[in-house]
Amino acid sequence: MDFSRWNFKVEGEGTPILFINGHFQSRSSWDPTSQDLARFFKVVTFEFPNQGESPTDASFDTIRRYAEFARAFLDYLKLDPGDVIVHGYSFGGNVVRCLSQDLGVKFRVIIYGGIPSLRLAPFQIRRFTTWLEILDSCGFRTFASNVLLQVFSPGFVARYPHHFETMLGEYCRYYERRPEAVRALILAMRNAFQTPSPPPERYGEPVYVIGADSDLLLPMTYVEEYGREIGALEIIRLPGGHATRIEQHAELAEVIERIAERHESWVAPHGV
């Protein structure tokens, strides 16, 4: 894979923090958070195939493909995962989970955002099947509206209708002409939840879990359950909806900064 022309950004110096996108997220959507953190850390943001401005590749229809891509990207940047604090949000959280549990990648710290246990599989499969049905039957704009109304908290949609429309317009710009990219992203998530009886997750590094109290896509109660299941060091509740990087970008940056500072002197057991 040639990453030299890929859509990514590295800003700042210090402990590396890697952000891994949610489902239909573009690289630039991290900017408010990453610019804040780049004052003190080296912040890396990027896109997967099928996301944002990056090329379509319908073969990327499993989480494992995206995880392998992320691993290759880290190799390209010559970043040792053991030095990296990674924040995987929603779809990105599932990529991190795959990196950690299936590909054996050890990070310095893992910060999950908006991610449930694999035991929530029936609900997640149902959700993604619905998304595919709406995408196929009702057109992209209706699909995107449906998703964004779940992604944003009621208060955000009601109080910032123009911002909601802007996001909808952005989604249409990136994806309306390439439904196969959207399809691949959705299939990847649906496939991720089709493992019968997933084994217990085990982590050698510190793990944190972030949820939002008005998250309609993944209610906080499920995030809390997952945090307890995996022995998270802390379960953090932010106000707002699923899209914390938009609704609560300053608070999200503060949380990540606090976690990063707590573990800056901790050295990962390399090779473990």
């Binding site: 709406i134 039957s137 209706t142 109304l149 009621p154 949609v157 009601a158």
Partner: protein, 276 residues
């Protein structure tokens, strides 16, 4: 049985039991028969009346497609006038709750008490409009004799994750049942009425009143349309209101928590209000 509205539309209604009148007001997607199990329980204590809103049913009987929800309020007035009820208890779900709140604003003396499931907060009007527009588009995009896309669009909004998992094979059956019992034109007419009735000028004219009647508000913990925290912000409108949140339930309490809803309602009417 039918009653006639002031614009000569005939709407079906049913009655059961004796005693103080309790009128059940439908949500958007259900007919009066959907209350059947609850009617069986409540009619032991009260005179229960159920009816269909205009344009609910296979026959399109709305005399036009563009009206607002105040038309439903007038229809309800026509029903209670037809039955000669000086006052009644109103029980509603979703749109039905909205109709009852508006009725209580215009005819306070006729509303003895309210039990509202899935009530809304007009401060979130823009969001409701966005959601219902999505449903309308999905409805219009659904192929002939197949309302599955419409069902897929609205079901996640009204049911909890747990219920959706249980009902995961049911979407085509739900879609088929919708197609059998409702007309697309009728669903569309009522969706448009709901969307248009969240416009700022309509809200200003019709919905800035207090509900003086004792009110029991039942809201699902996982109500996607109006999460409990959102409804609490509208508590100013219900000075004699009590909000109870039903753990784990979605918007459609009538289906997901029927027995709990019936129990709360009867406790409220019989014990709290002493109605018989």
């Amino acid at each position: 049985m039918v009653f006639e509205t002031d614009d000569r539309v005939e709407l079906a209604f049913s009655e059961a039991g004796e005693g103080y009148p309790v009128v059940f007001v439908n949500g958007l997607g259900n007919l009066k028969e959907a209350w059947a199990d609850t009617v069986n329980v409540v009619s032991r204590y009260f005179r229960v009346i159920t009816y269909n809103l205009r344009n609910q049913g296979k026959q399109v009987d709305g005399h036009g497609d563009r009206y607002l929800t105040d038309r439903h309020v007038q229809d309800l007035q026509c029903l209670v006038d037809h039955l000669g009820l000086p006052a009644f208890v109103g029980v509603g779900i979703s749109t039905g709750s909205r109709i009852l709140v508006d009725f209580a604003g215009e005819h306070a003396a006729r509303v003895r008490a309210l039990v509202l499931m899935g009530a809304s907060n007009d401060a979130y009007a823009e969001r409701y409009q966005a959601i219902f527009r999505t449903w309308l588009v999905a409805l219009l995009a659904s192929p002939p004799e197949d309302l599955t896309p419409y069902a897929e669009a609205y079901l996640p909004c009204i049911y909890s994750p747990h219920y959706l998992v249980q009902a995961r094979g049911q979407t085509p059956k739900i879609a088929a049942a919708l197609d059998r019992t409702l007309s697309r034109r009728g669903i569309a007419a009522n969706l448009r009425a709901t969307i248009d009735s969240f416009a700022e000028d309509f809200l200003r004219a019709h919905r800035q009143h207090l509900v003086e009647a004792p009110t029991l508000l039942l809201q699902g913990e996982l109500d996607f349309l109006t999460p409990p925290v959102v409804l609490r912000e509208a508590s100013w409108q219900f000075p004699k209101g009590t909000l109870k949140v039903l753990d784990g339930s979605g918007h459609n309490i009538r289906v997901e928590r029927r027995e709990e809803f019936e129990r709360e309602m009867l406790n409220f009417l019989l014990d709290d209000l002493g109605l018989e």
